[in-house]
Symmetry: C2
Subunit: 472 residues, 2 copies
């Protein structure tokens, strides 16, 4: 299978590819908002049609209790290895819309970037693989390897139905390596392979006081305020040095030796770089660790949102009746999400003032994951990057959580190569999300090369039948 014809096809079809990606971005596939369920369904069918159209087979839109999974495959070369490609077509909400330069669901090119919600996370990245496959099938009617694609619609809400789908279809999904492009490079000329992801755990905290709002004149000073109590509880989740103050929280955190820390310092972003990416002047958090370590090898607890009482225009003299907070943990080896959930609930109970009632719910546990940097499937990706972006990748840890990595590891026993094409300045999850178009084109080339090289790595991989996962 000659990648050069595919590469040439990809080069000459860039304009079409971008216009198709725009079409893909127009779907308001906000998985967290029930009102968009139909948009996700429509998008899944659009995607399935597109996969069929480029020549993939066994295309299916598989319903779940939530949003559908889109599946497609090409398995005409049984003697060759199988690559499983994963991506997600769901996105985060576009709010606050007024902070966007262009409307979030009206994809627009500005200065060589395609702006729109999902442009980088993850529609643009997954689409790079689709266009690579199309480039082969349109020029040679075959792929260098067997391919299976799973594109889910619930990644941003913690993939609640993906694991059971994979468990049920364990045999059908068997693959020699999985490729996931949902992470970022250091810069457009510095590709990166993410070999570690933090795990996660979401939490909701509710504090209740009086059954109704009370007049703060009549009762202020004599009745506790659930919103104030919630603030006090949250203030007790971190100590004054930015460490999580939940007793036992750090007990199982893996301690990394000098070798890995030096490797990370050499390959990872500097504190300055991270501050610049975040556009803040100073860092925060656990002393004794670089900002890169604080976002990768160290766990974190983030308050994602909170509301209570009257916070609109004008004033309202009330003691609120209730207040809620949404939080998320980022966990690292060897923390167990279930154990952390228990420690969290115990701590909340312990720090809740007696005059109010609190309830803590935790959900979407995700175990942290690590991939062996020397696995042949990872080395193949390094070679593909060199061809696609002109540089070997650095090996990075990712601070986010990609639930499916843990699932591939635990259910399919299959290594997941995290070949990211996003950039730090892509504003994923915030206003003005974008995808740098040169990255899109190079990502397609990289995927073309990866599929070519993956064909040769079979033997090596078979030798490592028990894929080596460093995760606990």
């Amino acid at each position: 299978m000659d990648p050069h014809r595919a590469l040439k096809y990809a080069r000459t079809h860039r304009a079409t590819f971008v216009s198709e990606l725009k079409e893909f971005l127009r779907f308001r596939t906000v998985s967290s908002e029930p009102e968009y369920a139909n948009d996700l369904k429509k998008c899944a069918h659009w995607l399935a049609n597109h996969l069929q159209h480029i020549g993939l087979e066994r295309v299916k839109v598989i319903p779940t209790k939530g949003h559908p999974i889109v599946y497609a495959a090409w398995q005409r070369t049984p003697a060759r290895p199988t690559v499983l490609i994963y991506g997600h077509y769901d996105v985060l909400p576009g709010e606050p819309v007024r902070e966007w330069r262009t409307p979030p669901f009206n994809p627009t090119i500005l200065d060589g970037n395609l702006h729109g919600r999902g442009a980088s996370d993850d529609k643009g990245q997954l689409f790079s693989h689709i266009k690579a496959i199309e480039s082969y099938l349109s020029t040679g009617r075959a792929l260098p390897v067997n391919v299976k694609c799973i594109f889910e619609g619930e990644e941003e809400i913690g993939s609640p139905h993906l694991t059971s789908f994979i468990v049920r279809n364990k045999r059908a999904l068997r693959a020699d390596a999985a490729v996931i492009s949902d992470t970022r490079m250091l810069a457009s000329d510095r590709p990166a392979i993410s070999y570690a992801q933090r795990g996660g755990l979401r939490a909701e905290l509710e504090v209740k006081g009086p059954p109704h709002e009370l007049h703060s004149g009549n009762f202020g000073g004599a009745v506790h305020n659930p919103l104030q109590a919630l603030c006090e509880i949250i203030a007790r989740l971190h100590d004054a040095h930015g460490r999580v103050a939940i007793p036992g929280f750090y007990d199982d955190v893996r301690h990394w030796g000098e070798e890995e820390r030096v490797f990370m310092e050499r390959t990872g972003p500097s504190d300055d770089q991270i501050l610049q990416d975040a556009k803040v002047e100073q860092g925060w958090g656990e002393s004794g660790f670089s900002l890169y370590e604080r976002t990768t090898t160290r766990p974190a607890l983030t308050l994602n949102g909170m509301a209570g009482g009257h916070h609109g225009a004008g004033a309202k003299s009330i003691i609120p009746a209730r207040a809620i907070a949404k939080l998320s943990f980022r966990l690292v080896p060897n923390q167990d999400p279930q154990k952390i959930a228990q420690l969290f609930r115990d701590h909340i109970e312990h720090v809740t003032p007696p005059a109010v009632r609190s309830s803590a719910r935790t959900f979407s546990p995700i175990r942290p994951a690590l991939v062996d940097r020397n696995h042949p499937a990872v080395r193949a990706a390094a070679f593909a990057y060199k061809k696609g972006f002109g540089a070997f990748p650095v090996f990075l840890r990712s601070g986010g959580s990609i639930p499916v990595v843990t699932t591939f590891q635990e259910v399919l026993g299959c290594p997941a190569v995290l070949m990211g094409f996003g950039l730090p300045e892509d504003h994923i999850h915030g206003p003005n999300e974008k995808f740098y178009l040169p990255n899109f084109y190079n990502a397609i080339a990289t995927s073309i090369w990866y599929l070519a090289v993956a064909a040769k790595l079979r033997t090596a991989e078979r030798m490592e039948k028990q894929t080596k996962w460093q995760s606990s």
Copy 2:
């Protein structure tokens, strides 16, 4: 002037009065929400027409930079004293509407109570005086005293334009006593005169972090979270014992001697009663003081509302870019709102973590006020209550802030008699606000008697030309 014909008229016109009050309550006079400005205007004109219709004179709807003031008078008996009647036709928002048994702006009678936003605070109470005046003018074509009415539309937002109006019209508004019915009784057979109100000061606190929301996976643990910082700041506004932790906050708080404390214990609500009114199981706040003291002679700081980040349905993995909180102080003699504002801003600056920026704004300062319980105008009110409700009133302190009391004291030199007709269970400022109809009827009778007795008290009052205010 015989009050008995007026009383009889009031008794036979109850059904009409209630139906007129319902009409008054239907106006969505939410002064804090700009979208309702026109509803306030319409209501002001409806009220003015109504005052004209019952025989009041010099009726005017006076525009302000905010919502209009409605003025009316009857001054045909120059030798007699003048009573200034104050009320407010604006109300708080109806939210959360789903917690109401009946829609907030669709007044409905349930079990002898008129339900609706403003039923008790303050449309129902001010309307009692209007119906008393009507009862005189319809039966005898004259009032026992001269009357001036000011009904404002901005009480719930701190009366920003009332003081300047009163200052500008100081001579025209001169009166011998003012009557304000915007407070509550202990029970429907236990009338009360509020002789003290706490002062107030509103504050808004904003904390800013990164210029945009950040992905909590990529930056969680390394960038400070303005929402978490706001919680930490708020947690430092009170100490562990429920005392306000702003240095210097209690410096000027007047210490009350044993005599007043015993009086308060005898006349005021018990801790149990206050807990029952609030429907909570335990109290909170400064130890060493009864709950009644904590809400009247002791100052308080209440967090009225707060918001930041994603708090809607679903989850969003972000570090928010900003967070806001709305707070209100309740101040007591001899605290000075301006001095407290400065202490607050200094403290906020002191407790703001270095990795975020905070800004504190304060507005609507209101000085605390006290009225001499032995003033003849107050004694006249006690007599009127005995006639209207069958019981002498208890003398209570009010925890809320009635800005106009301070203004009457400082600008007009006129004592304000706080003759409340509300009940503790009226749910003012919360869902299911209501006015107990027997209180409405007895309030009208009380107002009829007050106007009659006020005519006789002129001499005594003239003797105390310099009205004695106990306030600092």
